[in-house]
Subunit: 201 residues, 2 copies
């Protein structure tokens, strides 16, 4: 990405700020005024420069400014599920409480949000009521924080494997680890916890 001149940065900042503030882009004249110019030509020049350098794209017509993804952070939507499904997530609407926007790089195939119950993971900064992003499926490494189904109930724990024994560790010392022998089917690792949202700190 090419560098912007200070003036061009000001122009871009105003476009972004306007989009944020009221939901549609500024006109050339509004940009002109924001930059303190007396001719629209100057403002137009900055827009042309921003387009040439790839920060925005423009179409014929009024306010037809589109900001490049990444400047206005791409968005992904993840479903907040009420129950953790044993099988692949089907997004049946009964299972999905809500779809929430997250930064695009948090998204991915099959990922979903799960509300954490209890304080068993406060040692890892995961609190009661937090929403964790779960990357479902295999590829879970020793020592990672996972979502597991223990007798049908979803739980967030740290995974340890000790020679044929799967252990689920809390990070709150008041909780004892759960040990399960290989082959016992009562525990199923759903996926790995990758990110976290906390609505109220």
């Amino acid at each position: 990405m090419k560098e912007l001149t200070p003036r061009q940065e000001e122009a871009l900042a105003f476009v972004l700020e306007t989009l944020e503030r009221r939901g549609y882009p500024p006109s050339v004249r509004e940009l002109c005024e924001a930059l303190g110019l007396s001719s629209t030509r100057g403002a137009l020049r900055h827009l042309e420069a921003l387009e040439r350098k790839g920060f925005i794209s423009r179409a014929p017509g009024a306010r037809a400014i589109r900001v490049r993804d990444g400047l206005r952070g791409g968005v992904a939507y993840l479903p907040l599920v009420g129950e953790v499904p044993a099988g692949p997530l089907r997004y049946a609407s009964e299972e999905v409480e809500e779809w929430l926007p997250v930064p695009a790089r948090w998204g991915g195939k099959g990922r979903f949000l799960l509300r954490v119950k209890g304080d068993s993971m406060i040692g890892d900064g995961i609190c009661d009521g937090d929403l964790v992003v779960v990357n479902p499926g295999g590829g879970v490494e020793e020592g990672e924080i996972v979502v597991a189904l223990v007798e049908g109930e979803a739980t967030v724990k740290r995974l340890r494997r000790r020679g044929g024994v799967v252990e689920l560790h809390a990070s709150n010392p008041r909780y004892a680890p759960l040990r399960v022998r290989k082959g016992e089917a009562e525990v199923k690792v759903v996926g790995k916890v990758v990110s976290l949202l906390r609505e109220r700190v």
Copy 2:
């Protein structure tokens, strides 16, 4: 919220879809064409109805359509700032690293994201590298977690007021509280920490 007629729903859907697809609202003529009308008057009527029923608001000017929060997938964009400004946030681009999407109810006037440095608040589940949503300005109550500027450096701490003395408490016992007498200007409370994002658990 009032009900929409089928035709008004079509109009609203087109506005939302256009915003999603290219980042700025449609013109009346574009809506007109999308609805298969031969006169802009019809399309304008639908926009007027949508405004009257509270689904959108409009301003004078081209494409000046603003969609009510909650319809647009419930997303708000907050700037991730590198430095915490002493005054009101100006969105000068040097200060803004990135704009990130968050659930709409996390947004609000002046709110911004700040990256937490250090582990002084792990007792409250706030870890090094977390992004906190800051609601700037007054109205900070005793006992709340705040962002404060201490000698120009931003820090996240819990606020206590004890008769003329402002105290900033870490929740990690390894850190001592900072006490500041009233009137000493080296500490400035920027705002309250309301929400939290953690990219990598």
